[in-house]
């Protein structure tokens, strides 16, 4: 397989409303919940991209990797399936159920594949399995014409495309899905094309990213992740954040909050005022991972298998607000989006700029899920 030619969109570098909802007790939230929250912020997008992530979407295949693949042309299905068979054992495959809408001209086709690593791979070696999947995703995105991987995590389904949040939800039948963690995004593309692959969330393995803003450091970040085998092929800056997280947390072993401090590091002026060992810690993070820091305005939600990380750029150039009632925590661009799904929140607050807000499933819930 040769490398695909550049796309008809011409540009290959990067540029919204977002929401994340989690039930910390691991209970099922209806897909409709994130849709109504997101639709309350319809004004933030312009119909050129919306999408959803549902964690807990596929309980019947929860231990297999779920690959959602988008075919801009269905002729790509055969080479993709041939290729998948050479790398993975496919347990089950089917078209992603969609409802045809008059408002959508020739949407791509979507298939999903539930697959396991080959038998000769040590199933205990999670990292090797994950590496294998990352390799498969990169190879399809980079080399097979008209095919792009939309999501590749376990028990995770990502549904995205060109349209307003209500259209995309209707198209993908979001009301049919349930999950313990939901993300939603409505897009207002600024620097990059509004195409189906450019809608958020952007994903790799269990990571899914929704983003409001612009990653001005995209070039530096892209070249950095490329050194580790990640390929940015989706023409939107946000994609690189998913790969950065996978690299920093899964490969380099950083904690989530350390990774967040790499993406949005304290200013040198503030590090100068710190006492050791804190001063040494932040200095080391900036020295080692300077190429992974994000410049530009952003509010980002990062979903992972047991929680959500919310992060703003250091000078808060995009909105982000959190609300909580019992075990339900929502984080969104606007408070009204939170109140759309949490009627009387017990608490509402705005996280500080540049400091990660992390919410996870309760510990006992995580243990149950991992057994």
């Amino acid at each position: 397989m040769g490398i695909k030619p550049s796309t008809p969109y011409g540009k290959d570098f990067g540029g919204c409303g977002l929401v994340g909802i989690i039930d910390r007790s691991g209970g099922s939230l209806s897909g409709s919940m994130v849709v109504s929250s997101l639709c309350s912020m319809k004004e933030r997008g312009n119909g050129l991209g919306s999408g959803y992530a549902v964690y807990g979407a596929y309980p019947d295949f929860k231990d297999s990797f779920g690959l959602h693949i988008m075919y801009n042309d269905i002729s790509a299905r055969e080479p993709v399936e041939e290729f998948l068979k050479t790398r993975l054992r496919i347990k089950h495959s089917e078209p992603v159920p969609v409802k045809k809408l008059h408002s959508m001209n020739t949407p791509p086709e979507f298939w999903r594949y539930f697959a396991d690593p080959p038998e000769d791979l040590d199933v205990q070696d999670e990292d090797a399995n994950d590496d294998l999947i990352v390799g498969v995703v990169m190879e399809i995105n980079e080399r097979i014409d008209n095919a792009y991987v939309v999501s590749s995590g376990k028990n995770l389904g990502v549904f995205k495309g060109v349209g307003h949040p209500d259209e995309i939800a209707e198209f993908f039948r979001m009301q049919d899905y349930k999950g313990y963690l939901l993300l939603g995004h409505t897009r207002f593309p600024t620097n990059t094309p509004g195409w189906w692959g450019g809608a958020h969330p952007f994903t790799i393995l269990d990571w899914s990213i929704v983003h409001n803003g612009e990653i001005s450091s995209y070039g530096t970040n892209k070249r950095y992740v490329e050194m580790f085998g990640y390929k940015c092929t989706l023409l939107t800056d946000t994609e690189v954040v998913a790969y950065l997280l996978d690299l920093l947390v899964r490969k380099k072993g950083l904690t989530l909050s350390a990774a967040a401090s790499v993406l949005a590091p304290p200013f040198w002026k503030n590090i100068q005022d710190m006492e050791p060992p804190k001063k040494d810690y932040y200095t080391a993070l900036r020295m080692c991972y300077g190429n992974a820091s994000l410049n530009g305005p952003f509010a980002i939600l990062m979903g992972f298998d047991n929680g959500i990380l919310g992060l703003n750029d250091r000078i808060k150039l995009r909105p982000l607000i959190v609300g909580r009632k019992g075990d339900i925590v929502a984080i969104a661009s606007e408070e009204s989006a939170i109140r759309e799904v949490i009627k009387e929140p017990e608490d509402v607050w705005a996280p500080k700029a540049g400091e990660p807000f992390i919410v996870k499933l309760k510990e006992d819930v995580t243990q149950v899920r991992s057994t």
Binding site: K316, E334, E335, S336, R339, W349, A350, A353
Partner: protein, 245 residues
Amino acid sequence: MKIDSQGMHYKVLNQKINEAVIQGITDIELFNVNGQRYIGDGLRKEVRINVHGVPGNDLGSFMNGPVITVNNNAQDAVGNTMNGGKIIIKGMAGDVCGYGMRGGKLFILKDAGYRVGIHMKGYKTLNPIIVIGGNAGDFLAEYMAGGVIILLRMFGRNDHNNIIGDYLGTGMHGGTVYIRDGIDKKKLGKGVGVSEPSAEDNMLIEDIIKEYAADMGLDAGKILNEKFEKLTALSTRPYSKLYTY
């Protein structure tokens, strides 16, 4: 007049408000508001709008006259470029409140977000006033050119202490900020001077706080029992050298 705003698009809601104002109705009460933008924008009549729920961004922008009371939190850009009237928020408010504000009053009970009062200005008899009962984020009073901001730090969330931001008053070249109970000098932006309020300043503070306390149902005496510090611009043209070619 009462309007149930449940599920109503902002265009429809604002049209109803505008029609009511044209008809001469002076008291408008909005129920079930959630995220509708631009409420009260550009209104030039002395009407009262009472909001139940969380109004959307740009509440009361460009308005000149109305009194808007929000019995809950508000979102971003409250009072954007407002010219006159008053906005009372009985909760917290988001980022960029009072952006480019030219007149009128903006009273916030709890915390305010980042960049509050950025580019605020006064002219002749116009003197915009912002009072924040809680804390404020970074860039408070950035590029401030006129008007008054009073920061109390009394009624906000305590777990974000010191959120009174960095870069306080950066690029300020006019107007006054009064801060109750002292500030961390490290947070001051370049070109900002700290001094003790004069007797005249204290009279102004007292007048504003009495009105604020009455609107919020607070005891003005408790707010005024602590000293304030005064911040002013050291130069009326902080960037004059920067832009000399």
